[in-house]
Symmetry: C2
Subunit: 113 residues, 2 copies
Amino acid sequence: MKRLGRHAIVDVSEVDEPLRHAEVTSLLTDMASACGATLLRIETHEFGEGHGLTAIAILAESHISLHEWPEHRFVAFDIFVCGSASPEPAIDLIRSRFPDSRVRSGIIDRPGQ
Amino acid sequence: MKRLGRHAIVDVSEVDEPLRHAEVTSLLTDMASACGATLLRIETHEFGEGHGLTAIAILAESHISLHEWPEHRFVAFDIFVCGSASPEPAIDLIRSRFPDSRVRSGIIDRPGQ
């Protein structure tokens, strides 16, 4: 069947500092906008000092998720968008936010071929 | 760096009927349990009659997401778990729930190698 969405998987390692809640909310909001997506709301869960956080932006076009492992200096992003939205500009924002980190990204079709 | 989590991407096509909200909540709860994960909460968004729904289970071990396109008879699942949790039993639950559909799955490491 035809492609309905594209899903970017972005792994950021060698992250300098733990993320702050307010910053994550701002970053996900900017990422949704950059994708051309409509942000419905952002849900977060903080695992306590030094234990990272989860943030999920629910979009009209699917979702963006962020999971942080500060003890491993690692952050995992998923950018799953359908319709006319595009994940590439959000990947660029991640690269800008983590200029000194290692950013690996790949994009898959949903459904896969 | 070492693997912190595993992420199953599961595309279900040729789905018979639109999903119901209560059923989705129950399915995600069962999937989290099957993975050996701790469910923190489930967030849903319904796009209106015939337009599908999004449901995201926030786990202590990352997340499970579901996006439905009833007009395309398609449902996309992601099962992203870290630690000792395992996505395979949740994939089995999807196959059981959609016995007459086409289920394609793959698992990637996070971070990727």
